[in-house]
C-alpha cells in the first residue's frame, strides 16, 4: 500500500521521531511505513490521519 506520509511529515517539518512520538510508535515503524515496507494497523492509520487532520485514504492508497 502506497502512502505520502513522508511528504506530509516533511511539509509539517516533523522528524520521523517527532511523528513517532506523536502517534505512540517507534521511529522505525514510521520509517517502515514511509518506505512501503509495513502497512499500519487501522488504529495507527486513524492516528496518523488525525494527526494530519485528513482522511485515511488521503494518506494511504490501496492501489
Amino acid at each position: 500500500m502506497e502512502n505520502d506520509l513522508s511528504e506530509r511529515r516533511s511539509a509539517a517539518e516533523l522528524s520521523q521521531r517527532d511523528l513517532a512520538e506523536a502517534v505512540g510508535v517507534t521511529r522505525q515503524t514510521i520509517n517502515a511505513i514511509e518506505r512501503d515496507r509495513y502497512d499500519p494497523s487501522l488504529e495507527l492509520a486513524f492516528k496518523l490521519a488525525g494527526h494530519f487532520d485528513c482522511a485515511i485514504e488521503d494518506i494511504f492508497d490501496p492501489e
Partner: protein
C-alpha cells in the same frame, strides 16, 4: 498517548541494550563456565542474566509510558513465528508420524538424540495446537 521518551528516561535503544546485554552476559558466562571447567558458576551467571533480561523485557513495557515495543514489533514476531512453525511443520509433519509407526513396528528405534528431536518436535506441534486454539478464542 504514549511516547518514545518518558520521565523514566528509558528509551527503546536503552531498553534493547539492557535486555540484550544481560542475556549476552549470561551466554558469555555459560561458555566461560564450560571453557574453564566452572560449570556451576557458569550456570548461575547464565540463569541470572537470562532471568534478569527476560524480566526486564516483560516488565519494562508495562512500567513505563515510553514506546519500547509497538505494533510492528508484534507483527515481526508473528511473521517470524509463523515462518518458524511453517518450516518446522513442513519438515516434521511429513516424517514424524511415519517414524512413530516404524518405531512401533520395530523397523527403526527412536532413541538417543534422534528420538529426543522427534519428541521435542512432537511436543512443539502439540503446544502450537493449544496456542492456536487459545488465539482463536481471542481473535
Amino acid at each position: 498517548m504514549s511516547s518514545a521518551h518518558d520521565t523514566s528516561g528509558l528509551t527503546r535503544q536503552r531498553y534493547q541494550r539492557i535486555v540484550y546485554g544481560l542475556v549476552a552476559v549470561g551466554i558469555v558466562g555459560l561458555v566461560a563456565g564450560i571453557a574453564f571447567d566452572a560449570h556451576l558458576a557458569g550456570t548461575v551467571i547464565y540463569l541470572l542474566g537470562a532471568w534478569a533480561g527476560a524480566g526486564i523485557a516483560y516488565g519494562a513495557p508495562r512500567l513505563t509510558d515510553a514506546t519500547l515495543q509497538d505494533e510492528r514489533d508484534r507483527e515481526l514476531h508473528n511473521v517470524a513465528s509463523g515462518l518458524t512453525m511453517g518450516v518446522s511443520m513442513t519438515l516434521g509433519i511429513g516424517i514424524i508420524p511415519a517414524l512413530y509407526v516404524l518405531d512401533a513396528g520395530g523397523y527403526v528405534t527412536l532413541d538417543g538424540a534422534p528420538g529426543g528431536v522427534v519428541l521435542t518436535l512432537s511436543a512443539l506441534y502439540l503446544l502450537y495446537g493449544v496456542c492456536h486454539g487459545i488465539a482463536k478464542r481471542r481473535v
